[in-house]
């Protein structure tokens, strides 16, 4: 019995490393001298930051047994609102307002989920459309340029030393996420609600409150992802985050978080998002057409996710 559980723990933790190294080694072989270079690695870290950050919040939502399909819309609204605010306010205030937008969107998802008893899948499928529509009408599909260089440097295209600020933000958000997840009563309650909502309720955990905050955190990190997008691109468009939902959810699941809730790690999610990031980068470098990239990416994601799910189902 002891042996059995020992095996379970190790296997599920290894899956993410296996996927990580398969993708890393695979592209290094397919793209000699192109993929595994310092420049390209820094590039991957920059490209992946937006997914990594949003995936931190998604880890909370999925661990609590929920899901958020509306992150793309939140990312887009936040990018635009932050860009517009930067025209009037200093960087810090604009960023805080941007995060506030994510808070409101996530909280709305949480309220619909807990007060109206609508499953998260349906709630966020609906709000996703609402948020995207809102983003499109915010500037009437116009892009907004950002000329605030401080903002662009510290949240996007700059480096500190040789390390991209985007990667530093990824690390900061991941570490904060990991600590909240592993070291606070709230994190333990999220695990409990996803593990067994009934047991959590009987244990005196306010399950609605926990689900509300898991969704709200997911909104906040999606918003932060939008802030990073706009700073990296020195402007905002309604298309930011458009196709990220699948990548974010895949990153979380490849990272070892149980899709049915109750188990996971935020560090695993970071590795999972890097798997996705390498995939996006490598397929592009291979010179595949956009259409072929989409097909290949979809297939690899399904394979990677099935790998991490299969191990869990075998218990």
């Amino acid at each position: 019995m002891q042996r059995q559980s020992f095996k379970d723990i190790n296997l599920s933790k290894f899956i993410v490393y296996i996927s990580f190294f398969i993708v890393l080694i695979g592209f290094s072989i397919l793209l000699p001298g192109k993929f595994l270079t310092v420049n390209n690695i820094l590039n991957i870290l920059r490209q992946t930051a937006m997914i990594s950050v949003a995936a931190v919040g998604m880890t909370f939502a999925i661990t609590a047994g929920q899901i958020d399909l509306s992150t793309g819309g939140v990312t887009a609204i936040t990018a635009l609102v932050t860009a517009l605010m930067l025209q009037r306010f200093p960087t810090v205030i604009a960023v805080l307002i941007g995060v506030g937008v994510g808070f409101i969107c996530g909280a709305l998802n949480g309220i619909l989920l807990t007060k109206c008893r609508i499953p998260a899948f349906i709630v966020t499928l609906g709000t996703s459309s609402v948020y995207v529509g809102f983003a499109r009408s915010l500037t009437n599909l116009e892009a907004v340029t950002i000329t605030n260089e401080t903002f662009n440097h510290y949240f996007g295209s700059g480096n500190i030393g040789f390390i991209p600020t985007l990667f530093l933000w990824t690390v900061v958000i991941t570490v904060i996420g990991q600590y909240v997840y592993k070291k606070t009563p709230f994190g333990r309650a999220v695990l409990a609600v996803g593990g067994s909502e009934s047991a959590a309720r009987y244990s005196g955990i306010n399950t609605d409150k926990i689900k509300f905050w898991a969704m709200t955190i997911c909104g906040i990190t999606a918003a932060f992802s939008g802030i990073l997008y706009s700073a990296r691109m020195h402007g905002a468009r309604y298309t930011y985050g458009e196709n990220d939902s699948m990548n974010i959810i895949a990153a979380v699941v490849i990272g070892g978080t149980s899709f049915s809730g109750g188990k996971g790690t935020v560090f695993g999610t970071l590795l999972g998002s890097l798997v996705i990031g390498m995939l996006n980068n490598g397929l592009l470098l291979l010179g595949l057409s956009v259409n072929a990239q989409m097909i290949a990416r979809g297939i690899v994601i399904v394979l990677a996710v099935s790998l991490s799910l299969r191990e869990k189902l075998s218990n």
Binding site: M1, Q2, Q4, S5, D8, Y179, K183, T184, P185, R188, A189, L191, A192, G195, S196, S198, A199, A200, R201, Y202, S203, G204, I205, N206, S258, G262, K263
Partner: protein, 503 residues
């Protein structure tokens, strides 16, 4: 055909699971047009016997006769073909389908490839008429019907196959008094048609009311097989309990303090679904109060109302003189009221989590320093609890799903031991745990009461109540109808059974 030919005859049925001999030579017979009541405590072998008759388990030895002919049953289909029908306690109607669709589910009369809806409706109406039921619309959606009508439909569904033997497994468990009356009327009609009926029930009064014969199983043998006319409830209790064991109640270090202010006062508690009807009682410091009642007596609702998982409609709950009526569960935990639920697997533990994670499910905030959990402190505390409660585990990190039922239950107890609540409420904590773990649980309950907490123990195992309680309240139809107190009354399994069955 001989007149005394039995509809169903069981001869010397034996059955064991591995080392565990469950049936040790059970013989009984049911005549046509007779209602036989089948009783027995948990583990007496009732359900194993019925599953053998229904073809789900294979008997080790013995013989089954239908209408005088020996038969072999290999699966449930065989049993159906031989004219045996069983209606289970958990109703099998699909709530979203109509009554007619349910009646003919998987056996629809067909018209080529499509279902002959007209034929279905016609046959259903004929069946209803035949059984004298005129208040069920065959086109109603099953889920919208009250439970009593669902029960009737379930029986009619079984009767459509023209069985000779009909087995009803606790059909009255969730019915109201009025619905039970209707059901019995219906069962009597079936009896008039010459159907042999076996009725499994925990309610002796019902057996006396409707059955011709009562068979009581004890420990895998027939302890009593007699005409109901000649039986009294104490007779049946005696057969069910077996020879009374010496009173072996768990020694307590301290006694309940009846001079102190009561810890918990519950007054006239009612809830909206009518399962609670003015429940009243008090618990004193250090007292273990038991609730003895049958399923559906409102015992689970009582605990849920006090803890806050259910909203009381009327009445009050007072803890140490402070009103706590209707407070939410997370407030209850903080004010010192905690509960251990009935369904351990679903609501007690999180089986994919470790022992440690489960032990402190409700308590993480007690381990924080500046908002962060001190895991070292929690690890130490978890190890202490494992030792104190004698939980058999490979360590604090072992997943709870790999523990035995008894040890899982001890983990659930661990949650409350750490919290040290003023009032701990337990809903049937010994279901499905082995004898050794049961002893352990008895000791834990006594130890909790010794610290001055009050314990409210709901249990369907009356021997367990008799062992640990200072006082047992008899609950029926949502209120307390009697009380047995240690030292004043005889507190034993049989005295409790008599009190509950007679109330």
């Amino acid at each position: 055909m001989l007149k005394d030919e039995y509809a169903l005859e069981l001869k010397d049925i034996y059955k064991s699971f591995y080392q565990n001999q469950v049936l040790k030579g059970v013989s009984l017979n049911v005549e046509k047009g007779m209602i036989m009541g089948l009783l027995g405590g948990n583990g007496a072998g009732k359900s194993t016997l019925m599953k053998i008759v229904n073809g789900i388990y294979a008997k080790d030895s013995g013989a089954i006769f239908i209408g005088g002919k020996e038969i072999e049953l290999h699966n449930a289909q065989d049993a159906k073909r031989q004219g045996i029908a069983m209606v289970y306690q958990e109703l099998s109607l699909v709530p979203t389908l109509t009554v007619v669709q349910n009646l003919f589910l998987n056996a629809e009369p067909c018209n080529g490839l499509s279902i002959d809806e007209k034929m279905c409706l016609k046959q259903a109406k004929e069946a209803f008429e035949d059984f004298g039921i005129n208040d069920i619309d065959p086109n109603a959606v099953a889920g919208d019907l009250p439970i009593g009508k669902k029960q009737l439909i379930e029986i009619i569904k079984a009767m459509l196959k023209n069985p000779q033997v009909l087995i009803l497994d606790e059909p009255t468990a969730s019915l109201t008094q009025y619905e039970i009356g209707l059901l019995f009327e219906f069962i009597r009609k079936l009896k008039e048609r010459g159907i042999a009926i076996i009725l499994i029930s925990h309610h002796m009064k019902e057996i006396v009311e409707i059955c011709d014969r009562a068979v009581i199983l004890f420990n895998g043998t027939v302890a009593l097989n007699a005409e109901v006319k000649s039986l009294t409830i104490p007779d049946m209790v005696e057969a069910m309990v077996g020879r009374e064991v010496q009173e072996d109640y768990v020694k307590r270090e301290k006694k309940a303090d009846y001079n102190a202010e009561p810890l918990l006062c519950v007054k006239d508690l009612e809830n909206s679904d009518g399962k609670l009807n003015g429940a009243c009682f008090t618990i004193y410091p250090g007292e273990v109060v038991g609730i003895a009642g049958l399923m559906g007596s409102g015992r689970t609702e009582l605990i849920k109302c006090i803890y806050g998982l259910m909203k009381p409609k009327k009445g009050s709950v007072t803890l140490r003189g402070k009103k706590i009526t209707g407070q939410k569960p997370w407030v209850s935990v903080d004010t010192g009221v905690f509960m251990i639920p009935e369904d351990r697997r679903k609501s007690g533990i999180i089986d994919i989590h470790s022992v440690k994670m489960n032990l402190f499910l409700s308590a993480w905030k007690h381990f924080t320093k500046g908002g962060w959990i001190q895991d070292k402190k929690a690890d130490e505390e978890a190890k202490k609890l494992i030792e104190k409660l004698d939980i058999k585990t490979t360590g604090i990190g072992q997943e709870v799903k790999n523990l035995s039922g008894g040890n899982q239950q001890k983990v659930v107890f661990g949650k409350s031991v750490f919290l040290h609540p003023d009032i701990l409420m337990l809903d049937d904590p010994t279901v499905g745990v082995d004898v050794e773990a049961k002893d352990g649980i008895c000791r834990i309950i006594s130890a909790i009461a010794d610290t001055g907490s009050g314990v409210l123990l709901v249990s369907s195992e009356f021997d367990h109540l008799a062992r640990v309680c200072d006082r047992v309240l008899i609950m029926k139809q949502g209120r307390m109808v009697g009380e047995l107190k240690r030292g004043k009354d005889k507190l034993s399994e049989s005295s409790l059974l008599v009190a509950v069955q007679g109330a």
